[in-house]
């Protein structure tokens, strides 16, 4: 087929037929008899739990599987009429762009302009063509102001856009994205999804997007493909997908769909606008306006963390910047607090200061023993046996807290992602779970990156146990064993599930602090999907929403 015909979209952007694949030495196949087609200009959402084969399918579509990873493959993969199994990722680079979860490892140059230009240079394009392509893709992604910067000065969101620009600069027919919003705050995440939709509409580039936070992108998709144990379990329109998920895998339901399911409303909505239209059609415009109740302090004990006028500055090499600017915050034992805010708002810095990794330049912070789990749990795991990481009685007690005592002889590398995270938390807790050294504060920094719903539910349960009456810690004195749990997170739905309080940071100061139901129902970006649908103070979860709708019916 001629290149012109391919450009005009005669061939599918991606055609997969009977694809099976197993990684080298893997006991089970990652993909089994997968068949699907992505039409030119189509926006397809790839859904599924962790390890269901989404990432492997994307890697097969860009040639990394099997060319880079090895393993055994069968079936057929064609990208813009090129045989992806015969051609390597280099040959496919002109037809397909790929963006992975971690933007850090997707940049290879020092400056942004050089990074975006590299694929064109490798292809042998002329200098003036390269200059124009770089300019156009920078304008399309709204990053021309970044072209002169070095990549190590960019935020996560900016770096993700630069990596996307490098993937798009060759004008591919298909762009593959593997959880591109997992490290972004809600604002940057939403911006990226709508940017993709715009590129999809204006440039005609087909999009295949793997995501766990379906509520963020379902409304932008033309079609959903759900994977289960390496197979395609569902392939259809977003509305049909929600009906399928309702019975086949409720963990894949979006919060708005769950709200409608619980309230018995049909059809299930694919987005906020859809949900509002359905409710309006039913004559429900303003469900009863339940006034938000300020929860009085249920734990009048000594604070687990008290920050007063806390200022922290960080030296980033090229500039010294105040990251925390006079923070006042008190957290008491038993409280579950979600620390939210944009990337760079100061969430991680506050947790790291509490754990003693940064010194305040003004103000004070008083805190007892702190167990902090940073964003990369793998950093805590340095030995080849769980028991070697956590020796003795104190180690065993910490393993019991996170429910891993039976894995004491396992190699940490053989644990699942969720188990590795719990092991890292146990390492931070070890020795702080008994006697005088109970953890006053358990802090988790972005613990839900790349997590599916089932794993998030497990984490919610663990947080509840740590903040609740932790009988396994000290059966004789339940009150004193309650830890305050603070979680820095971008995931508003997760925050609505675990937190009883939300502190919203903006540019180094606390801009809102109150009960979860109040904070997460009072905005747009930092609001749950249910809150955006119903726009009711104090209603943030599907269960609360269904109760409000039931009250309206009565």
């Amino acid at each position: 087929m001629s290149e012109l015909a391919i450009r005009r979209g005669a061939a599918p952007a991606l055609a997969v037929e009977g694809l099976g694949y197993a990684y080298p030495h893997a006991p089970v196949a990652a993909l089994r008899d997968v068949s699907l087609e992505v039409a030119p200009g189509e926006f397809v959402l790839l859904a599924g739990r962790s390890a269901s084969g989404k990432s492997t399918l994307l890697k097969a579509a860009c040639g990394l599987v099997p060319h880079f990873h090895g393993g055994e493959i069968e079936g057929e993969v064609r990208v813009a009429d090129l045989d992806a199994i015969a051609a390597g990722p280099g040959e496919l680079a002109a037809a397909v762009g790929y963006l992975a979860q971690d933007p850090e490892t997707q940049v290879v140059s020092t400056t942004v302009a050089a990074e975006i230009e590299l694929p064109l240079e490798m292809r042998g394009d002329e200098p003036h063509d390269r200059a124009r392509a770089v300019e156009e893709v920078a304008l399309a992604l709204a990053i021309p102001h970044l072209l002169g910067r070095t990549v190590d000065t960019l935020s996560g969101g900016e770096l993700q856009r630069v990596a996307l620009a490098a993937a798009l600069v060759t004008r591919p027919r298909l762009i593959l994205l593997d959880e591109p919003t997992s490290q972004l705050d809600p604002v940057a995440g939403d911006e990226l999804i709508w940017l993709l939709r715009r590129l999809n509409e204006e440039w005609g580039v087909a999009v295949l997007l793997a995501e766990h936070r379906l509520e963020r992108c379902l409304a932008a998709a033309d079609r959903v493909v759900a994977m289960e144990a390496g197979r395609v379990a569902f392939d259809g329109a977003p509305a049909e997908f929600l009906a399928w998920a309702q019975t086949a895998d409720p963990a894949l339901e979006t919060p708005a769909a769950r709200l409608f399911s619980l309230a018995g409303i049909e059809p299930l909505p694919v987005g906020v606008r859809d949900a509002r239209q359905t409710l309006r059609g039913m004559g429900i415009t303003h469900p009863p306006n339940r006034s938000s109740r300020r929860v009085r302090d249920p734990h009048p004990s000594d604070p687990a963390l008290e920050a007063k006028g806390l200022w922290v500055e960080l030296d980033r090499g090229d500039d010294v910047r105040d990251v925390l600017k006079g923070i006042d915050l008190t957290i008491r034992p038993g409280e579950r607090v979600a620390l939210m805010g944009r990337n760079g708002a100061g969430k991680s810095t506050l947790l790291r200061t509490a754990a003693g990794l940064h010194e305040p330049v003004a103000g004070k912070i008083e805190v007892g023993p702190v167990a902090l789990l940073t964003q990369n749990p793998g950093d805590y795991l340095v030995r080849e046996r769980v028991g070697d990481e956590l020796p003795g009685e104190e180690g065993l007690a910490a393993l019991r807290v996170v429910g891993l005592e039976e894995k004491i002889d396992a190699d940490p590398r053989d644990l699942s992602g969720g188990e590795r995270q719990r092991l890292a938390l146990a390492i931070a807790l070890a020795g702080r779970t008994e006697g005088e050294q109970l953890p006053g504060l358990v802090a988790l920094d972005e613990p839900t990156r790349g997590m599916d719903r089932a794993r998030k539910d497990e984490l919610v349960a663990l947080i509840g146990r740590l903040a609740g009456s932790v009988e396994f810690l000290s059966p004789g004195d339940k009150k004193s064993t309650r830890a305050a749990v603070v979680v820095a997170t971008h995931d508003v739905e997760f925050a609505s599930e675990f937190a009883d309080r939300v502190a919203l940071l903006g540019d180094g100061v606390v801009i809102a602090d109150g009960p979860t139901a109040e904070i997460l129902s009072g905005g747009w970006y930092f609001a749950t999907e249910v809150a955006r649908v119903l726009d009711l103070p104090g209603v943030v979860t599907p269960e609360q929403g269904a109760a409000a709708l039931a009250e309206e019916e009565r």
């Binding site: 680079a93 064109l120 490798m122 292809r123 042998g124 990481e389 956590l390 390492i427 070890a430």
Partner: protein, 309 residues
């Protein structure tokens, strides 16, 4: 935290200059330091390197390089004083030392060591200014037509070094955050973990390069001529410094000897070479744009019209 030696783009002369011009300029200063042993000329070269760095905004890189360079210079002075016993002015007799034999510390050996140390310090400061002010992507692009694969390997290494440094900082933090009941993190497990992490990172970066078309046997891309309006200035100053240094040599400006006794010449040729070299440090100076009298008049009349309206 970003390394002090990491490249920081700025629209200033040294950063804007083509890699060839910047390398010629800084290379000329280093060449003088290796051509001369006269302390006056070496100090002038050091002044030039420091001034160039400061005028190019590389304050942290210069400060750190000076600290490291002077520490190295001190080490060279000490080692030279202990190892070389030549010279007439004996300051201390330290007796018989294992391996070294009779150790006599002489003033001449100390001065000779100081001269060598100063030379090393100048080279370090110039290298730091290069690292902080010359865009490695532009250098590698300029090198690519000559050695494509080597340039790409250098690109990979230059990318992985800061990534590995960030990984090491994170691992150190995680080690500090372990509970008192967890096993201590020894240096060996930490190093193993860092190495394993670096290999994973290298695989990821290699995958990215594959996706960018690195393995393609594409026709070699032509590059734009990488020029700036400051190139002439840096090439001219580099040529002037080298010409002065060579002419100075011919005219006897290198009138410095340490053994058996110290003789330092401060003749007109030496002073002239030192002055030219020191002044070359002003090359990265930014000039504010001058407004010509005609354009000033035009601007004033426009302002007057706006005021009338």
């Amino acid at each position: 935290m970003k390394s002090a030696f990491a490249y920081q783009p700025r629209p200033w002369p040294l950063q804007s200059a083509s890699p060839g011009a910047a390398i010629a300029y800084l290379g000329a200063i280093v060449a003088v330091a290796f051509l001369y042993s006269n302390p006056l000329v070496l100090i002038a070269a050091g002044v030039a390197a420091v001034a160039a760095g400061l005028l190019a905004g590389a304050r942290r890189a210069v400060a750190l390089a000076l600290k490291m360079g002077l520490a190295l210079a001190l080490l060279i002075v000490v080692v030279n004083a202990l190892v070389v016993s030549r010279g007439e002015t004996v300051l201390a007799r330290l007796g018989e030392w294992p391996l070294l034999g009779q150790v006599d510390v002489t003033l001449e050996a100390i001065v000779a060591g100081a001269s060598g140390g100063l030379r090393a310090a100048v080279a370090m400061v110039a290298a730091a200014v290069y690292s902080a002010c010359v865009d490695p992507d532009r250098v590698l692009r300029a090198l690519r037509p000559l050695a494509g694969r080597s340039a790409l390997t250098a690109t990979l290494v230059s990318r992985l070094v800061p990534v590995a440094a960030a990984d090491a900082a994170r691992l150190r933090d995680a080690a500090r955050l372990r509970g008192p009941g967890a096993a201590e993190v020894g240096k060996a497990p930490l190093a193993r973990r860092l190495l394993a992490g670096s290999l994973d990172r290298a695989v990821d970066v290699a995958a990215t390069l594959e996706l960018r078309g690195y393995s393609l046997d594409a026709p070699r891309a032509r590059n734009r001529r990488d020029r700036s309006r400051y190139d002439r200035r840096f090439y001219a100053i580099a040529a002037a410094v080298l010409a002065a240094a060579i002419a100075g040599k011919a005219l006897g400006a290198e009138d410095f000897q340490t053994y058996p006794s110290i003789e330092v010449g401060f003749g007109p040729a030496t002073l002239a070479v030192a002055a030219i070299v020191a002044l070359s440090g002003l090359a990265p100076l930014r000039r504010k744009g001058r407004v010509s009298s005609s354009s000033r008049i035009a601007r004033q009349s426009r302002h007057a019209e706006v005021a009338r309206v």
